[in-house]
């Protein structure tokens, strides 16, 4: 034990940075080089903006997931939550047209409704896991099914479409740029910075880490464990609602297939980024890189004919497994440790 700690400390000093922490960044860099070699257009401004915009949804949700996972929980319901929030937003906006017209007010009502729903859905998950003392996996598996079936029910098995006039007003939120960057990317940046600050610089972040490391220690250290855990789900809900707000104007519709598998992509981004699945160690910066890595893989496959685009999932799966294997950090050291 002593030996290992000392030798890693030395390596760290020599290289100047921690390989584990820099891993996701290196992986993303390698992916970009591969992308460029396959097709120089990969690095064109248009493609980069497109890539960043695409990663914003999963990225924003994954920032929330980082808190939940760091505090030792898990939220499987985010994809379905996004779908049902999108659905309700559209219904609310469509029915508000009669009273408020097709202007900005209606869009704001939709957004407000999204945030309230997100906070509420997060609170439900949080209270069921803490006050209800049901395992997070079970609670969110349940709410995942509930939200998914609700959106199908609201859409009557089909698609909910946003009123065409509102779509025109709302459209810029996804398609317009501000200082050269699309608005979703700005939202992503703000959420990322806020998340990083909350995780690394505030007492709340410290509490999440402590609870994820050892809940008993947290309880005996005067931390209101239930409240902090419930809050991580509320943060997750807020992130989902923000992601939904920028997602709805993209297609202007919601159906039972909206947000399918987003929960797994968000969790994958978190894990690729170096956050520990069983809690106690969270890295917002890593999560952002994880989200970018996942989107980049899809993007590269779109650019090349070498591998079928249908194998996107395979590539993502491989990356996740390799990332976690690399993070174990003890490969090749097994022999010298004994």
């Amino acid at each position: 034990m002593t030996e290992i700690t000392m030798s890693t400390a030395k390596t760290r000093k020599l290289i100047g940075f921690d390989l584990k922490t820099a891993g996701p960044a290196i992986a993303l860099l390698i992916l970009c080089v591969i992308g460029f070699l396959l097709n120089p257009a990969f690095l064109s401004e248009g493609n980069i903006t497109n890539l960043l915009t695409r990663s914003a949804f999963i990225g924003i949700i994954a920032v929330g997931a980082t808190f939940v996972i760091t505090a030792g929980g898990i939220d499987l319901s985010v994809g379905s939550m996004a779908a049902v929030i999108a659905g309700v937003m559209i219904i609310v906006m469509n029915s508000a047209v009669g009273t408020f017209g097709t202007g900005v007010t209606t869009v704001l009502i939709g957004c407000g409704c999204s945030i309230i729903l997100g906070l509420g859905a997060g609170l439900v998950n949080g209270l069921l896991t803490t006050k209800g003392k049901i395992e997070a996996f079970i609670v969110t598996l349940g709410t995942m099914g509930i939200y998914r079936s609700l959106v199908t029910y609201f859409a009557d098995g089909g698609t909910l479409s946003l009123n065409y006039d509102i779509r025109g007003v709302y459209r810029p939120v996804y398609y317009d740029s501000f200082f050269g960057l699309p608005i979703p990317v700005w939202v992503f940046i703000v959420v990322a910075i806020a998340g990083w600050f909350l995780m690394n610089r505030t007492a709340f972040g410290r509490y999440c880490t402590a609870i994820g490391s050892n809940e008993s220690v947290a309880k005996y250290s005067a931390i209101k464990v239930d409240r902090v855990k419930a809050l991580t789900y509320v943060i997750q809900g807020l992130c989902v609602s923000l992601a939904t707000i920028i997602y709805v104007p993209r297609l202007g519709s919601a159906s039972s297939s909206t947000g399918v598998l987003w929960e797994l992509e968000a969790i994958a981004a978190v894990i690729i980024g170096g956050t520990v699945l069983k809690g106690g160690y969270g890295r917002i910066g890593g999560t952002i890189l994880g989200a970018l890595i996942l989107t980049t893989i899809g993007n590269i496959l779109n650019f090349t004919d070498m591998i079928s685009n249908y194998l996107n999932g395979t590539m993502q799966g491989l990356i996740i497994i390799i990332a976690v294997w690399l993070q174990r950090g003890d490969w090749g050291r097994n022999k010298s440790a004994d």
Binding site: T2, M6, N214, S221, D338
Partner: protein, 507 residues
């Protein structure tokens, strides 16, 4: 050498064992002979190299130089517990049982009996029942490990070792978490094993127990072999001296007299909570109040109820004369009442994290400046704590789990002291730590009390209650049976109250 005794050939011997981790030597040419039917105690302060030696004796570590002989033959023991095949079994302090499985499944884990490819449950059950009867343990082979007490789990480990025909049983602090009654039961098993010819090596910090049960005592200090003596030639005092290498005359600090008229810092009346019946006591300013009793007497439960860790059903608590009803640990902390847990690994410290976040965790609101945490203030607090409580770490960035038990305990004390409490409750202040550090902790406690903080010491170690406290409350089965002062604070009085032979009338 024990003279006048028949000396049998050693089963297992260490000859000139040295061990270094990297460039850090931890054992210097240590020799030890382990003979059948003999209990051999291994004592020394934390960091003396006992654990390393035990791991080498059981094959979990290979020595850097020197030889291990089994039955007189030079042997390289296989690692990872495979030494069990030659009859050497190490029982770790953190027991190695699958909590959700039954006793029977645990005993045969990894070498289940089979009949035609299917588990032969009947045969295994019979075998386990036989072992349990053998050592007089009143549990069923079908009991789940998680339902057993710690002492019973320990016994299951021993049954497991017996079922493997262990010839040498090496145990790391087996009695650390046992009550006195449980320890007696445990020693009865040890004597039975001894009679069967098993050699037993055990580490303990409880020197009175070492005197009581062992035949031979080997003392290590700073990785050096200090001596091996017949236990009957040693007293606990002489053992302590050999371990520490100096006189331990002032193990306990001189006690300041408390002003009898000092204000009452805490006044608990008719407290009712799970495991606690009608408990009433008061605590004066600057007083050290001991809580003695057997494990499970409800001492911890009283204070978990007082400081908001568990619900109480009835009773009133006056804090500085004003009614207080703490619903959360945070509320108690903000009022100035803190509880230091006895379970430092599971409830006290985040073992996977560094010292700084551990130190500030309890008093974290104090370290918030604006919206964010003030890291400089945290660093400064850590520096102060290291100085004040003499916390010794190779490197301030070490994970807390890699600190020695004594340093962990000091850090834990520093952690709760960060919020400047007015009442400090310490549960088992010196569990599993060496004599030298114990002495330091006692002095810290006395100094804290001298500053006017009221201290409650809950302890199962009678000498420390007697040496440290102004008054002693004795509990039994959730009730207070006596409150002792002055001359009455002695071992036989406490035992009488704790065992229920004597009790004060309570109104």
């Amino acid at each position: 050498m024990p003279d006048g005794q028949f000396i049998s050939a050693p089963i297992l011997s260490a000859d000139g064992i040295s061990k270094s981790f990297g460039t850090v030597p931890v054992l210097f040419s240590v020799s030890m002979d382990i003979r059948p039917g003999e209990v051999h105690a291994l004592i020394g302060e934390n960091g003396a190299g006992k654990s390393t030696l035990m791991k080498i004796l059981s094959g979990f570590l290979q020595p850097t130089s020197g030889h291990i002989r089994v039955d007189g033959v030079d042997t390289e023991l296989p690692g990872n517990g495979l030494s069990e095949a030659v009859g050497i079994v190490l029982i770790h302090q953190e027991l190695n049982l699958a909590e959700q499985m039954t006793v029977e499944e645990n005993v045969f884990l990894g070498r289940e009996l089979r009949k035609r490819g299917v588990l032969d449950r009947a045969a295994m059950r019979t075998a386990v029942r036989g072992f349990l009867d053998d050592i007089g343990l009143d549990i069923s082979p079908e009991d789940r490990i998680s339902d057993l007490s710690i002492a019973q789990k320990q016994m299951v480990e021993i049954v497991k070792a017996m079922s493997r025909d262990a010839r040498v049983l090496i145990m790391d602090e087996p009695t650390a978490v046992l009550t006195e009654a449980e320890t007696e039961l445990f020693f009865a098993q040890v004597r039975r094993l001894k009679a069967r010819g098993t050699a037993i090596v055990f580490v303990s910090h409880k020197l009175a127990e070492v005197s009581a049960i062992s035949d031979q005592v080997t003392v290590l200090r700073d990785g050096q072999w200090i001596g091996t003596h017949a236990a009957k030639d040693l007293t606990p005092d002489s053992m302590a001296q050999m371990m520490v290498g100096r006189e331990l005359s002032d193990l306990y600090p001189p006690t300041n007299e408390v002003d009898v008229d000092a204000d009452k810092a805490l006044n608990v009346t008719d407290l009712m909570a799970p495991g606690v019946h009608n408990v009433s006591f008061d605590l004066r300013k600057g007083e050290i109040l001991g809580f003695s009793g057997l494990i499970g007497a409800g001492r911890t439960a009283v204070f978990e109820a007082v400081c908001g860790l568990s619900a109480r059903t009835n009773g009133s608590i006056l804090f500085d004369g004003a009614p207080a009803n703490f619903h959360s640990v945070a509320a108690a902390r903000d009022a100035g009442l803190v509880y230091l847990t006895k379970d430092r690994k599971e409830k006290g410290l985040l073992l996977g994290q560094k010292m700084r976040p551990n130190l500030s965790l309890f008093a974290l609101p104090k370290f918030v400046k604006g919206l964010s945490l003030d890291r400089k203030a945290e660093e400064a607090a850590l520096e102060r704590a290291i100085r004040r409580f003499d916390i010794r770490a190779r490197d301030p960035n070490v994970n807390v789990g890699d600190l020695s038990g004594g340093n962990q305990q000091k850090l834990l004390l520093a952690k709760v002291m960060e919020c400047d409490p007015r009442i400090l409750i310490i549960d088992e202040p010196t569990r599993g730590i060496d004599v030298g550090t114990k002495q330091q902790i006692y002095h810290f406690i006395a100094a804290i009390a001298a500053e006017g903080v009221s201290v409650v010491v809950i302890s199962s170690e009678m000498p420390e209650i007697i040496g440290l406290c102004h008054r002693v409350v004795v509990m039994r089965e959730g009730e207070i049976t006596g409150i002792l002062t002055g001359e009455d604070i002695n071992e036989s009085e406490i035992v009488r109250y704790a065992a229920g032979l004597k009790r004060e009338r309570q109104q």
